[in-house]
Point group: C2
Chain length 173, copies 2
């Protein structure tokens, strides 16, 4: 009995670790986001850099924007619209002051990523996602839980206002 | 004669393009930076992301920090000191307000990389660079020209104040 309890605790702890570190490690899978049915793509943390971003207003967020091979190729060839198979990932963190760096600089000037907040994906599939400009959208909180339908319904109307095939982010050389 | 002039203009323009886009495309080579003799590493723009950074004060800069395989492995294994062969790249851009994004958000809150300003490298070689903590430093302006000796002499005394083997940047999951 004690052995079984230990085993169960071990399994539960293991599951906890997997869920908690899913967005952090680039480990794929987990629960699919609603509407578009997108799961966290395996190994996205190894993708190449498209650009970085910083949002103030209500967000106070730092982001790195990574792309799979199709995304990087399209960006570098300046080819629009993005081809089917393109996946763009936005890894969000809080925009935090760095005490260590500021001490060295002698003034408050250095900002670094604080704790991760969420990771978002755009997936191009012009047939599957025809009603939303050919793009599917997904959002996962830092614990790996997907954002709800109400949140995901806000993605496409806003991205439709971007001037380059629903994508705001431009490539940083 | 006219033909030769055309050829010369073509060659000169070609060289210009190569020099100007060297840091942008991740193309290696070019002139070595002084003191440490480091050239731009081939393909660094394809390296994986370590983190992002934002400096105010006199800099107003945005950065993406990329690492070669040795750097990424050491960061992920939380292994210090960094092993010989580690190379860390800091790609700097101006920190620019995004008019396009701000129009969509309805207020000024969105910052993106402006034009590239420079790219800097730290190369770990504990024997070759023994007098500077095992690290060599290089700086290349946006035109591919290396920074001068006076600039490079400021790198190591400042990085010596970082708490993790001369490196300020921490890994962003």
């Amino acid at each position: 009995m004690r052995w079984i309890a230990f085993l169960l605790i071990g399994v539960a702890a293991g599951i906890g670790v997997i869920v908690l570190t899913a967005p952090a490690s680039g480990q794929g899978g987990g629960e699919a986001a609603p509407i578009f049915g997108i799961k966290i793509p395996l190994g996205y943390r190894d993708w190449r850099l498209i650009s970085v971003a910083h949002e103030e207003g209500d967000l106070h967020s730092f982001a790195s924007i990574l792309g799979n091979d199709a995304a990087i190729k399209a960006y570098r060839n300046e080819k629009l619209p993005f081809p089917d198979g393109t996946v763009i990932a936005a890894l969000h963190y809080s925009h935090a002051s760095s005490e260590e760096n500021n001490k060295v600089f002698g003034r408050s000037q250095s900002f670094v990523p604080g704790p991760p907040t969420n990771v978002q994906f755009m997936v191009k599939d012009s047939r599957k996602y025809a009603t939303t400009g050919g793009w599917g959208f997904a959002h996962f909180n830092k614990d790996g839980k997907p954002g709800d339908e109400a949140l995901l319904k806000t993605c496409s109307p806003c991205h439709a206002k971007a001037s380059r095939d629903f994508v705001f982010t431009q490539y940083a050389p």
